[in-house]
């Protein structure tokens, strides 16, 4: 059987000349799903886009050949590439919310490709759209297309994006992290629908993701990439069960470790934070209802739930960023004011925040030393010389070389930036650190290192953590106790070990079984359990 997509010696360069993808060969047979796996910067998306003859943000394809069916993309003209894009090879982006034009109805955007490439007449395109929307189990498929992108949910929009890509019945789909931005429970639905759609229409696909467990469910073959080069390639079974390269083994081990309960014993003191029956509103909408929880000294409390469950809002209330409307928050036996503006400097110092996105949490024009030194000056009035010493000590503590004090955040990697954010929080000598999805934006192996750092800091300094996350693997390894939230309410709370072993609360169980596992039959099992007919 001849290939539907063949890439030989692909080389892609960034505008500054750096080589992003170096000498990649890729073969895709009809009906085959090839998983491209790797951390950020591995060149997965760049390869996916290059397969369409496209370079993002000024990236250029500087070498190699790309052939779709019989047509060579690189030798042909711009018009040839435009003819193939959308028609023969189509793209599904990570964030459908950004990929849909906000000013045009969804249905119009779905049929646009088919009509533009004159693959179908208007009635044919409309009929095909309806079939796709039905296949993808969108609500009210007849009228779904009349809506605007902001009028439907994220999971629905992601499915609509798939319908848009299928508009011209392409031979190849490039799926670029199509489920990464979704909640775990929604991810399952989209993943199952994608798999059945690919089987039904015998479409080939490049499935790009950093999540081994996701790709395990859908790919026939897997290519592992790192720094723009191939690490290893093989059937899905071989790569997942018997990886040949160390790097792949590390990725697999990290993913497996994700599922063990491994909170070690450590000293826990008296109650530090006491939240009693708080409510909070955004305008007139209740976002938190009757939340009560306690956190002891040296303890880690994880707050888990899907997006919109109110877990970040709880953190904002505790930090005083969003004043509660009723209830009470006490810290170390003192009642805290509802708004941070009325809290004393000392109260502010003792609760520090670390955010999800280190890129935007650091001032790009301040050096690392200035960033970490700022709380020392603000809270303790430390002068320049002792401050420099203290900054050096902090950098030691978080495992960065002392020379980093003079660097700007732009020169740091994502993991290093997050370490700086943690150091900034530590510089205030807090009792409680609120960690809001601190590892979500990081690659798995980097995230692992950050979690280790947080754990060792806790045992060294006796810190308490309020750990907000949607990643249950993180919770199991880090949290002494867990609080499960749904739609602004507490579903259950208790010792982590008890929460995550049967008997489950039904909602917690749904969350737990929704976390992808490396075994290839996981998706079928979950679907059977959830009795979702796909």
């Amino acid at each position: 059987m001849s290939n539907i997509l063949t890439i030989r010696g692909l080389k892609v360069a960034a505008p500054n000349g750096a080589i992003l993808v170096d000498g990649i060969d890729l073969d895709l047979a009809p009906g085959e799903v090839l998983g491209l796996i790797g951390e950020s910067g591995a060149g997965k998306s760049t390869i996916g886009l290059a397969a369409m003859g496209y370079g993002r943000g000024g990236c250029r394809i500087v070498g190699g050949s790309i052939t779709i069916g019989e047509t060579s993309l690189m030798d042909g003209s711009r018009a040839t590439r435009e003819k193939m894009r959308g028609a023969r090879i189509a793209y599904v982006a990570q964030s459908a919310a950004a990929a849909f034009n906000p000013a045009i109805r969804i249905g119009e955007q779905i049929v646009e490709g088919a009509l533009y490439h004159a693959k179908m007449t208007r009635p044919e395109a409309e009929a095909w759209k309806l079939e796709l929307l039905k296949t993808l189990q969108l609500p009210n498929p007849e009228t779904f297309g009349d809506r605007y992108p902001h009028q439907v949910s994220g999971g629905q929009l992601q499915r609509a994006m798939v319908a848009m890509a299928m508009s011209c019945r392409p031979h190849v789909l490039v799926l670029d992290e199509p489920t990464t931005a979704l909640d775990v429970t929604t991810q399952i639905e989209v993943l199952a629908l994608l798999r059945s759609l690919i089987q039904r229409y015998k479409t080939s696909a490049l499935y790009i993701t950093h999540d081994l467990a996701v790709v395990a469910q859908i790919a026939n073959r897997i290519m592992v990439l790192r720094h723009g080069k191939l690490v290893e390639e093989g059937t899905a079974e071989q790569v997942l069960e018997a990886p040949r390269e160390d790097y792949t083994r590390m990725l697999v081990a990290e993913r497996q470790g994700n599922l063990s309960n491994a909170v070690t014993d450590h000293p826990i003191g008296e109650v530090l934070l006491d939240v009693k029956a708080i409510d909070a509103y955004y305008g007139k909408t209740a976002v938190l209802e009757n939340i009560s929880c306690q956190l002891r000294r040296g303890e880690t409390l994880a707050v888990v739930g899907e997006s919109g469950s109110g877990k970040s809002t709880l953190a904002r209330c505790i930090a005083g960023l969003l004043p509660t409307s009723s209830g009470m928050i006490s810290f170390d036996k003192n009642r805290l004011e509802r708004s941070y503006k009325k809290r004393s400097k000392e109260e502010l110092r003792r609760i520090q925040l670390v955010y999800q996105l280190p890129d935007v949490a650091l001032n790009p024009r301040q050096t690392v030393g200035e960033i970490i030194g700022r709380p020392m000056k603000f809270y303790f009035g430390m002068h320049d010389v002792p401050r420099e010493k203290e900054v050096a000590r902090m950098l030691d503590l978080i495992g960065l070389p002392q020379e980093f004090a003079t660097r700007l955040p732009g020169a740091l990697s994502g993991g290093q930036k997050q370490r700086v954010c943690i150091a900034r929080a530590l510089a205030a000598k807090p009792d409680l650190i609120i960690c809001d999805e601190v590892t979500s934006a990081l690659d798995p192996l980097v995230a692992e290192e950050i979690l280790k750092l947080l754990k060792s800091l806790q045992s060294e300094l006796g810190l308490s953590y309020l750990f907000i996350t949607h990643d249950l693997g993180v919770v199991r390894r880090l949290a002494d106790r867990t609080l499960v939230m749904q739609r602004g309410k507490i579903v259950e709370q208790g010792a982590t070990a008890e929460i995550f072993q049967p008997p489950f609360h039904p909602y917690t169980e749904e969350l737990v079984i929704s976390v992808p596992e490396l075994r290839r039959d996981w998706l079928d099992d979950v679907l059977a359990k959830r009795k979702v007919a796909v």
């Binding site: 993002r56 193939m84 894009r85 793209y91 982006a93 990929a99 906000p102 045009i104 490709g113 902001h150």
Partner: protein
């Protein structure tokens, strides 16, 4: 959305009221008083007092302001002090002239600016983009009186193509009118086109960096379609805004151009009124300019609200 628009309208009305108060206060601060200005050298204390009472100048300022405002709201713009004619009769024909010139300039400059801006955005960083940006910067930097004089120097004095004076009169034929007003209109076009073009370019470029534009390219659409169908509608709000701002400028900022070309519009009219200390005329003209400005800006804001798909089609 209706609520937002009503709020914007209310805000516009409030702004107008503030503008009227400022104008009134501003004219009160001018040195000398109207009665002595009218009577000049012949003033006796008795005649001054009589005229003050006659004009209502003996009343407190806030009362005079309310009377003036009430008159304005009902279309009574007061009487000219200089020649004792109703202000309305003098003002509206000239306002019409100003609007005609502004319309002429806008009809030429808006399409040119938007098209050039689009073309520059599509060819970002290319020779056309860089060239047009340099030219635009040059015109933005030149003051309009200088530009107007340059045009007169070349187009009327050197080559004698167009008249340097924009003489218009009632009952003039349209081709004659066009010929007479082309130079001032051209000056206005050159002054406004650059800003609108640069703003259009920026607005379209910011949209071209959005993920949905990439989606459109990955559908295999050609650049022209991507720009017109996917980018332009999302860049419309800022473009409408800058266009409205420039039309407002065409109406209110023409004082200099009308003076250079001796065009019988509201700008020149106001300059003359200031010279003659004819306060009711000055107040009325300032108020009309203010109203034009506020109304056009409100229209721009309302258009931006109406063009926002999230507001137009709520969940």
């Amino acid at each position: 959305m209706i609520e937002l628009i009503l709020k914007r309208v209310a805000l516009g009305i409030l702004t107008l009221l503030l503008v009227s108060a400022l104008i009134f206060a501003g004219t009160q601060l001018l040195p000398g008083d109207v009665a002595s200005a009218i009577l000049g050298q012949n003033a006796t204390p008795q005649s001054l007092a009589a005229l003050r009472q006659d004009l209502g100048l003996d009343l407190p300022a806030w009362q005079r302001y309310l009377t003036w405002l009430q008159g304005f709201a009902t279309g009574d713009l007061g009487m000219s002090l200089a020649n004792r004619q109703p202000v309305a009769d003098l003002l509206w024909p000239r306002f019409g002239n100003t609007m005609a010139l502004a319309a002429y300039a806008a009809i030429v400059s808006v399409p040119i600016a938007v098209l050039l801006g689009l073309a520059a955005a599509v060819r970002r960083g290319g020779i056309f983009d860089r060239g047009i940006n340099i030219v635009a910067l040059a015109f933005v930097s030149l003051p309009e009186y200088f530009l107007g004089l340059l045009l007169i120097l070349f187009l009327s004095v050197q080559f004698n193509l167009l008249p340097s004076l924009a003489d218009t009169y009632a009952g003039m034929s349209f081709p004659d009118w066009l010929r007479a007003t082309t130079l001032p209109a051209l000056t206005l076009v050159l002054v406004t086109v650059a800003q609108m073009m640069r703003m259009t370019r920026t607005a379209v470029l910011s949209v071209m960096d959005q993920a949905y534009v990439e989606t459109a390219f990955l559908k295999g659409l050609r650049t022209k379609r991507v720009v017109l169908r996917h980018a332009l509608p999302n860049a419309a709000a800022p473009i409408v805004n800058v266009v409205a701002f420039n039309i407002a400028y065409l109406i209110t900022g023409v004082v200099l151009v009308e003076a250079i070309f001796n065009y019988n519009g509201l700008g020149r009219f106001m300059v003359d009124a200031v010279a003659k200390r004819d306060l009711p005329l000055v107040q009325a003209a300032a108020m009309v300019f203010g109203a034009a400005y506020v109304i056009l800006n409100s229209i721009a804001d309302i258009a931006a609200i109406a063009l926002n798909p999230r507001l137009r089609h709520p969940r």
